[in-house]
């Protein structure tokens, strides 16, 4: 029986190994054929041209910009909400707010995407002009989607700071706010950083919500109010009809995304080690 338990425990190792193996075997040859430099830094993605060009720099930049936008929007709001949850919230209110934040985390991304499509896109169109499907729209939507992650993880990081830090701050004459923001938050720094990194991971991997609001034009990002295509969108939009080298190039796109995620995971485990 111990052998069965052991075998079950090895499943996750097997799964990661298989995922790496299949992605790399199917994706790397395409990169070799296209040329790694042309693939990663090529500025045009025109798989149907003759000769086709497979440059994914527009999508890499698209993913980075949209994620950065989500961080700019979601992180300050998230951390401040976490401060409220950990240090201000009366217990009665907390019993309502905490499940509400959890609910925000549980809403399927397709519902978020739909909400973005029917609410945020028209709003951006009416306020700033253009089509409304833009980098800004995607950033706002992703900013909302990473909120629960940021709030949840930062809240527990703030709660993990010993109460004596806060009291020490008060004893030195600092106000409630000053003690929280200048004593407790610096002490919770690595936990909050971990929250941000987790949020980045969620934003960069998000697919369904993004393709509904980002416009998805496969060209270099041209501005906040112009459409943009992310790595994830590139895969899901074209995988349905892609063949041969085009298909392999899409799998290679997933490899790039996968490497991004691995780097983020590495960063996360380094942060966790620092938190102890």
């Amino acid at each position: 029986m111990k052998a069965i338990f052991f075998a079950a425990a090895c499943t996750s190792i097997l799964a990661v190994a298989l995922i790496c193996l299949f992605l790399f075997i199917n994706g790397v040859p395409a990169v070799a054929k296209i040329g790694i430099f042309d693939f990663l830094f090529g500025k045009t993605w025109k798989p149907n041209n003759t000769p086709p060009s497979f440059g994914i720099l527009p999508m890499i930049l698209g993913s980075i910009y949209v994620t950065a936008g989500a961080v700019v929007i979601g992180v300050p709001v998230g951390i401040l909400t976490a401060v409220f949850m950990a240090r201000y919230c009366p217990k009665r209110l907390y019993c309502i707010l905490k499940p509400a934040i959890n609910l925000l985390a549980g809403i399927p991304s397709i519902v978020y995407g739909f909400f973005g499509l029917v609410v945020i896109v028209p709003f951006i169109r009416d306020t700033f002009g253009g089509t409304g499907s833009s980098m800004l729209t995607a950033s706002i939507l992703l900013g909302i989607m990473i909120l629960p992650t940021i709030v949840g993880v930062s809240e527990s990081a703030i709660r993990a700071v010993p109460q004596s830090y806060y009291e020490g701050g008060l004893a030195l004459g600092a106000s409630h706010e000053r003690s929280i923001f200048f004593v407790m938050l610096p002490a919770a720094k690595s936990g909050i950083m971990a929250a941000v990194v987790l949020g980045i991971g969620r934003a960069i991997g998000e697919t369904m919500a993004v393709i509904m609001v980002a416009g998805n034009q496969a060209r270099m990002p041209a501005g906040l109010l112009k459409g943009v295509r992310t790595l994830t969108a590139n895969i899901i939009i074209e995988m349905g009809y892609a063949a041969e080298l085009h298909r392999e190039a899409l799998i290679a796109t997933a490899v790039v995304l996968f490497v991004f995620i691995l780097l983020i995971n590495l960063l996360l485990s380094l942060l966790k080690r620092r938190t102890g």
């Binding site: 409220f84 519902v111 000053r178 509904m212 995304l257």
Partner: protein, 291 residues
């Protein structure tokens, strides 16, 4: 200790008058919280108000066609998909948690590797899972876009989630339970299955429910593994039929752009399921903390 720190409203106001920075920070905190909760309420309210009037009986007809755009087959497929995914993932997850908590020795290097891989798995975006499912289950194993391929893909996806919660639940079982069982002459295996596992059940169940939530909400991982056919799988080979779950159904409706009212209605149904799942998970967790 706390009673010293209580201040009256007037005292607070005076303190804020002295320090404008504190006041600004306080206001920022309040505004952010209102914003977060406001977004949630607005999202719920908007979808409910637009969606509930659109829930019509024809959406629940057994057969899907382009006239009624019924979501019933997708709803049933979601249940089947959830059931099969859990059937695959839960035993593996619980067994590996048992290995990690009950059998593995401290400082075992393999345990470290298992933890790292589980963490890696939980960080992988669903589209990468979808692509892997397409390459491995659909193409390499030759299952085609099918219920089974989708279920296997999803079960890998929820594995780390169920495993971690099960591990924590097992760890929370006091050692005295195990010692008592050993003292009464029970073997290791009997102790695990008769004593430890039943006591850890609520925690494990809460994890499984979270897993169900992820399955129900998933769409990106399913489009290229289970496909988008809006029919209930039938016959002896039903495991190899292509199906669409409710989330994929909603994606199909929205991306066509013609059925916006039906999309609202589907969003409401999805949302209600998610609320129920959240409530159930919270309820079980609360029961756990009382016990």
């Amino acid at each position: 200790m706390d009673s010293i720190n209580i201040r009256s409203f007037g005292q607070k106001l005076k303190a804020y008058k002295r320090s404008s920075l504190s006041l600004i920070l306080f206001l920022l905190v309040i505004v952010s919280t209102i914003l977060t909760i406001g977004i949630l309420l607005f999202l719920i309210g908007y979808i409910m108000i637009k969606g509930i009037p659109n829930i019509k009986p024809e959406l629940f007809q057994w057969e899907y066609n382009t006239l009624n755009m019924s979501l019933m087959p997708a709803l049933i497929n979601t249940v089947i998909m959830t059931f099969i995914s859990l059937l695959i993932a839960v035993p593996i997850a619980v067994f590996s948690a048992i290995y990690l908590v009950e059998y593995a020795k401290r400082g075992n290097r393999l345990v470290g590797i298992i933890r790292i891989t589980a963490e890696t798995l939980s960080g992988i975006p669903s589209i990468v899972y979808g692509l892997f499912g397409l390459l491995f289950f659909v193409t390499a194993l030759g299952w085609g876009m099918s219920l089974l391929a989708g279920a296997f893909t999803l079960s890998i996806m929820i594995l780390p989630l169920v495993m971690r919660t099960a591990e924590e639940a097992l760890k929370a079982v006091p050692d005295s339970y195990r010692e008592g069982s050993f003292g009464l002459g029970a073997g290791k295996l009997r102790t695990v299955f008769r004593i430890v596992l039943p006591s850890a059940m609520p925690g494990i169940l809460a994890g499984i429910i979270l897993g169900i939530g992820r399955i129900v909400g998933e769409s990106a991982a399913l489009i290229y593994t289970a496909g988008t056919v809006a029919e209930i799988p039938k016959g002896r080979d039903f495991l190899f039929d292509s199906t669409r779950t409710l989330s994929v159904h909603m994606y199909a409706l929205t991306s066509e752009g013609l059925y916006i009212n039906q999309s609202y209605a589907t969003a409401v149904i999805l949302f209600i399921i998610v609320v129920l799942i959240n409530w159930l998970s919270g309820f079980i967790a609360k029961k756990l903390s009382k016990a």
